[in-house]
Amino acid sequence: MYENPDGVMIGLEVHVQLNKLKTKIFCGCATDYHKDPPNSHVCPVCLGLPGSLPVINKKAVEAAIKVGLALNCRIEEYTQFYRKNYYYPDLPKGFQISQYDFPIASKGQIIIEGEDGELIVRITRAHLEEDPGRLVHEGTIDRSKYTLIDYNRSGMALLEIVSDPDLRSPKEARRYLDKLRNILEYLDVFDGDLEGALRVDANISIMGGQRAEIKNISSHKGAERALLFEIVRQKNVVRRGGVVVQETRHFDEAREITLSMRTKEEAHDYRYFPEPDLMPLKVSGWAPEIKETLPELPDARRMRFIKQYGITDDQAKSLTGELVWADYYEQVLKIYENEYGEKLDPKFAAAWINDYLKGEMNYRGSTLTYAVGKVSHHLIWHEYTVAILGLLKHEKITDDNAVIIFRNLLDSPRGGSDWRPVKKAADSAENYVMRILEEKGLLKVEGDIVETAAFEAINENPQAVADYKAGKEKALNSLVGAVMKKTKGGADARKVREILLVKLG
């Protein structure tokens, strides 16, 4: 049992941008603004110009229902948009169109890996709203002399997912966020790699005290750091005999501290009322059909991987923990079967893809999406993985050389190196990999070449030979190493050892 010694209670409000939609929630502005200059993806509606009116993006409502169902929520029969009235420089209308009573989805739950096993985190509600603009400060928010506003982000469809205060540690908060992101990506409504895609407000209290609301958290790691800082801060307040006050605090990402945002401002009064410019929604009838189209979600896929492929729970968890890896794994299996007319051992594939390749990428801070999905001409395509695994399987290359190839592929700079696998037409992936291996002299070496290398190694290392003959078993290793060096790792070390033993009598 997890003791939760500080009585930590954390509830998260996660703002997720439905950034796979083509347009914003209430206007026809395109959502692909990330590389464009400020205020270049705006219109009268998302700029809040006088006289402009909102119209609901149907796909945004569908996406919200989809997420609601995936989070095991109930879908409200009648919902409507409200105005949440407050002032802030990023808010172009002086109110945010959001939901209040009757959020589109409510009363759901997801399961995460808690401090002491599975933890059910209840989802209070999930509702649609519009994103405000983006504020840019010169230096930090508390010292900047002015504020710059970019409304490109204004009007992006946001789904605010609110959890009950069921999380008991910063680590659990982070796992919850990981899980949420994972589910959202499976649903194809969200790309977590885009800037500003997911923002978190965290409510945290300790020992039954008042809660602080921490705003401006923009990453999973940030959430963990902000909460760790906040627990220490609140504990210090209590230790000094003080009382934690209910307040809003701003997370300073660079300094990894939270700052009080209290001004002369009195308590908020959002004066919610139904948005008169939007008609109510009666869309719960869509739910059964949308439910039919729900993809297999992470937990289900993990269970299936274990059962179907016989891989370990850890491997399955790790692979299904990110949609791209789960897909990549299964695609490799499938392509292999098509290519070779035989099944690839799924455990063998999991060992290479999960245990090895994923580690190599994490080490490099690279992602598979980056490596495979987005840059079609770059790095490791599925078919190259298939080719390499095929060559391995058929003992044409060694483990060592497979590692060398993967590493070189991962490290080859974009658009430059001769390692870049530009596939020629009519050139199979396998041929291509073979050609590179040949050019680099990395093909598996057998027969005469190994014999010759062994002969040379014995001649060139009389001391080692003498040591071996004098009974130092370890001296054989240096001879094996010499042969491997001569064959550029292409020889099978086990066989080299056998050949040397024969030659040394």
């Binding site: 009268p44 700029l47 809040g48 110009l49 006088p50 006289g51 402009s52 009116l53 909102p54 119209v55 609901i56 105005r83 009235n85 002032y87 420089p89 172009p92 209308k93 002086g94 109110f95 002015y146 504020t147 506003i149 001004t263 002369k264 401002e265 009064d269 004066r271 009322f273 008169p276 410019d277 939007l278 008609m279």
Partner: protein
């Protein structure tokens, strides 16, 4: 002067739109009405020449039209009669402006109005009060006072206003012209700067019903950019007939109550009898919740307004004062930019929505709104149209009520229930009291503009009130 669309069309064909438009500008330039905030002489003449060079295509080809200054016009200042929109030039056209341009109309300028359409007299305009052509010491009504005064003063043949609680019908009544408030949803509000979204519609002004219908035909119609817009294709002009036999007219006594001027009551009752003589049937109807409409209306309008007007903070457009921290700057921009009446309504609307008062005021008003809607639904089971006074009295003097908001609000008693119910209503001249025009209000079922236009047209064809013109302007 005071020519209708048909007559102007003939003149445009005989000479040119440019000549016709120029004449109107001459008249405006020597006017004492202060009906316009912005004149677009250069672009109007350019447009007129352009239309002259083509084949005068479109139902309003070459016809000058004036636009209330809360309707967005691309490239032309749009102030809402407020200082806070200083220098604001919309980068887009309202739906109705697109429609007017498509019909070949020539926009000659933006008309004076109560600040953000909050008023019944056009006295709250930052640009000074507009005047009533029938008596320059009197108000033209509001909030679309500039549009009504311009039409009544012969400064433009047709104009657009907006009607949130009577803002087209009141000035139509006070200025002796025809003004229509369409069914909610029939005219797109896209580009109309919101005062109270759930209540308002853009509506046409003209000196006669036929021209009102012609202008209405141009601006009505579905617009995908307004979620409250409804899909209904109609040609209203073709519905005009001098014929009311069998029309069932309801008379709600609640609209002839205390505070209604004797002459107004007499003129309206005479008007009803004129229609009876022409074959209409009369019936008394009960609308028991009428007396609560005013409070419900103002609570709803102010609540919505307090939110609508939050966007005016000086960051993206309009007035900006010296910077300090953002809270202070916002408060100072808004304090400097809004007039007293707007501030009062924002404060009251904020109050009506605030924690602890939301249910007592805002929610209560919406429940009362339901009762008022039901009054109309019940009445329209038995009758086709309702007839009432538009305003309880003729135009009052400038300055007479401006310091007493409540007495000003009370002037709207006969017009606001119509906006609460969302039904259409037209005001037509039906008499005079000491030289001041009186308006008769004809109210119809949802989407039954045809019925009220026909009744109004028949009335007009059989009376001459609409032909009288103010002297001495």
């Amino acid at each position: 002067m005071w020519a209708g669309i048909n007559e102007l069309m003939e003149r445009i064909h005989a000479s040119s739109s440019e000549e016709v438009v120029s004449e109107y500008f001459e008249r405006i330039e020597s006017s004492k009405l202060n009906a316009f905030i912005t004149l677009s002489k250069e672009s109007a003449l350019l447009r007129a020449r352009e239309i002259d060079s083509k084949a005068h295509d479109g139902s309003l080809a070459g016809i000058p039209v004036a636009i209330k200054d809360n309707i967005s016009t691309k490239g032309t200042l749009t102030t809402c009669g407020s200082r806070i929109l200083t220098g604001y030039v919309p980068p887009y056209d309202a739906h109705v402006i697109e429609k007017l341009k498509g019909a070949g109309a020539v926009i000659i300028g933006k008309t004076n109005m109560d600040e953000f359409a909050m008023g019944t007299s056009t006295e709250t305009s930052f640009f000074g009060a507009a005047r009533n052509p029938w008596d320059l010491e009197r108000v033209p009504g509001g909030s679309s006072g500039g549009s009504a005064a311009a039409v009544a003063g012969g400064e433009v043949p047709i104009a657009l206003g907006s009607d949130t609680g009577g803002s087209v019908r009141c000035p139509a009544s006070f200025c002796g012209v025809v003004g229509l408030k369409p069914t909610y949803g029939v005219v797109s509000r896209y580009g109309l700067v919101s005062y109270a979204n759930s209540l308002e519609q853009i509506g046409p002004f003209a000196t006669n019903v036929r021209d009102v219908a012609a202008l209405f035909d141009v601006i009505a119609g579905y617009d995908a950019r307004d979620s409250t817009s409804v899909q209904r294709e109609m040609n209203y002009s073709s519905e005009l007939r001098n014929e009311v036999s069998g029309l069932r007219i309801g008379i709600p006594e609640e609209y002839f109550g205390e505070g209604t001027d004797e002459n107004v009551e007499k003129a309206v009752r005479n008007g009803i009898h004129t229609l009876e003589d022409l074959g209409a049937d009369l019936a008394e109807v009960k609308m028991p919740h009428t007396k609560y409409a005013l409070s419900a209306y103002y609570i709803i309008a102010m609540s919505e307004a307090s939110s609508n007007l939050a966007r005016f903070d000086g960051m993206r457009y309009g007035l900006r004062t010296d910077d300090s921290d953002w809270h202070t700057t916002f408060s100072q921009v808004r304090a400097a930019g809004f007039g007293d009446e707007v501030k009062r309504r924002i404060l009251l609307g904020t109050y009506a929505l605030s924690a602890g008062y939301h249910d007592k005021y805002y929610l209560k008003a919406l429940r009362v709104r339901t009762l008022i809607k039901q009054d109309f639904e019940r009445a329209f089971r038995d009758v086709d149209v309702l007839i009432t006074p538009t305003m309880p009295y003729p135009a009052f003097r400038l300055g007479e009520k401006i310091d007493d908001p409540l007495s000003l609000y009370l002037a709207d008693v006969d017009t606001v229930p119509i906006n609460l119910a969302g039904v259409p209503s037209i005001s037509v001249p039906c008499g005079f009291s000491q030289g001041l025009p009186i308006g008769m209000q004809i109210i119809g079922r949802h989407f039954d503009e045809a019925a009220i236009l026909r009744a109004a047209y028949t009335f007009e064809e059989n009376t001459d009130f609409h032909t009288r013109r103010p002297g001495g302007i």
